[in-house]
Symmetry: C2
Subunit: 147 residues, 2 copies
DNA sequence: CCGAATCCCCAGCAATTTACTATGAATTAC
DNA sequence: GTAATTCATAGTAAATTGCTGGGGATTCGG
């Protein structure tokens, strides 16, 4: 029950692009350097984020990535789903109705997974990229205090 | 971001033992048959649950497993932690203070993981084994309706 | 139009984890 | 004593993770 590096690095990359890319597009190299991540690996993650419509890319010299759309309308859930796939903690749980699990009929654990999933979704969908950007800026400005 | 079969099968096994083991101890074979799981694999899972103090075992003929302690005081969180280890979605997140992550100082994603973790913990700690047992019994009796 | 800086795509691969299976010993009821 | 159990440890095939590498396509600046 862990997020992989895809989710972890990718979220950091998104925040980085959002903070650094308000004017010019942000090249992978710059993200890699600031976040201390592999360029090649970041390439893949940004590819996923692009396919999900969360960033746009500008090719060629002076190119790079920028956030696609409104910071306030991109949630952490969107980002993590793009990188990790559906966040469902298990495959059964009635999300796909047909018999993944023989015992489904009298299997109460299904409801457990459902509840876990709901609370997870609610949490990640409620946090927006905009919040994270603002918080990052305050931290960098020194006006942020550990909560 | 998925639970492994350890968590999924193990939780089902716990419910099974709780429901079937009110009088006599429940042998692995019986759990395996009812839940359609491998005996050998279940052996391992029950070993973990025992080490965590959630079940007790009676060896020898007529032996098997029983829940250790009060159903109302065993939470799904206890069970999943015994099987999956800590549920933390990532390694950083300030749960272990020292520098797992270079960027920690200005890394806002830490707070994201913290919030996810809190909501997950709250959910799993709130569901008790007792609830699951009661729900299972109603389902088996036919007095349970899909919600 | 050239060359450097970019993104883009796909293949490969070592290490780790997962989900078991196998073997055999120790214990206990009858 | 024998059959039914738990217990402990080891092995292992398949999948997943976390990258690395090669080579191409695109674009800007001069």
């Amino acid at each position: 029950m862990k997020f992989s590096t895809k989710g972890r690095y990718g979220l950091r990359a998104m925040v980085d692009v959002a903070v650094a890319g308000e004017e010019a597009p942000v090249p992978i190299q710059a993200i890699a350097k600031r976040q201390d991540l592999s360029e090649k690996y970041l390439e893949q993650l940004l590819g996923m984020l692009k396919k999900a419509g969360l960033v746009k890319s500008i090719r060629g010299n002076q190119g790079g990535y920028q956030i696609e759309g409104d910071l306030a309308e991109i949630s952490v859930g969107d980002i993590l789903r793009a990188l990790e796939g559906e966040l469902l903690p298990v495959d059964c749980a009635g999300f796909e109705e047909d018999g993944a699990c023989k015992a489904a009929k009298s299997c109460v654990t299904k409801y457990v997974w459902k509840r876990i999933n709901e609370s997870l979704e609610e949490t990640v969908n409620r946090i927006t990229l905009r919040e994270l950007v603002e918080q990052t800026k305050s931290m960098q400005a020194g006006t942020w205090e550990e909560e």
